[in-house]
């Protein structure tokens, strides 16, 4: 069997057929080069899978922001999202997050009192 290098990553992932896996295992038992390669690939794979899971910016995951999108119409959704995006990317602008909460509460209150407010008037376009 020639060196089955193209199969080594799939072997690590358990994505080979039983027959392919058996042939690769048989080869690895006698081939130091492919065993080295397999270990190097396994190291890369492990490193990638060990990368820390990153938290999205808080405003993006804020329930209140997404509640606005559920209750509001398309334009309201776009507006809420636009707010969240703007605030999420504002570098070092922590007070802006507080402003978002305040604005979200105020807008939510208006929606509850007057469900007809499903379209935000102004320069914010809907989808």
């Amino acid at each position: 069997m020639t060196h089955p290098r193209e199969l080594l990553s799939a072997h690590l992932d358990g994505e080979l057929t039983a027959d392919e896996g058996s042939r690769v295992d048989l080869h690895l038992a006698t081939c130091a080069d492919c065993t080295h390669e397999l270990r190097a690939l396994a190291s890369v794979r492990t490193a990638l899978r060990s990368l820390p899971e990153l938290e999205p910016p808080t405003p993006l995951m804020a329930a209140r922001s997404w509640s606005l999108v559920r209750w509001g119409g398309g334009a309201a959704a776009a507006a809420a999202v636009a707010l969240a995006v703007v605030l999420a990317v504002a570098p070092g602008d922590r007070p802006a997050v507080l402003d978002l909460d305040t604005m979200a509460e105020q807008h939510t209150a208006r929606l509850v009192v007057d469900p007809g407010i499903s379209t935000i008037r102004g320069p914010v376009g809907g989808p």
Partner: protein
Amino acid sequence: MSDDAKPTWEEVARDHGRRIYNFAYRLTGNPDDASDLMQEVLLRVRRGLSDYTPGSFEGWLWRITRNAFLDEIRRKKRRPTVALPDDDRFSSGAAPEPDEVLAESRLPEDLQAALLELPFDFREAVVLCDIVGLTYDEIAEISGVAVGTVRSRIHRGRRMMRDLLR
């Protein structure tokens, strides 16, 4: 969540938002672009849920995510898809290195930098496999290529990572 269940939009945002963000961040290396993409994906999910037929939810979600990412690339023309290298510098023809790469000892920043060096097709396949945790079949379905192509892209992507981290 069962494939037979039709999720609510809030469930998608809550249960998958973090994975979408991580997918986007690992592809772009940029938190702003990742935030933009996550927002765009969730808006598309919201618009598309009414037409979603319970089945392969993962495939449906990640097709939306991938399309949103590619649309964003086209829109910004910031990081176009890179063609696969013709010279095949990373083919299996070269003699294997005797030393095993200790990639696990590298800093996350080094790994992220190496990821961004990969051609897009390789990077996407590696991220979908090792960061998102999809199977080769799922990646093939999402990417619209054969499983054998996915297998090759993941393998070559990891080999390039190994060389870059050496």
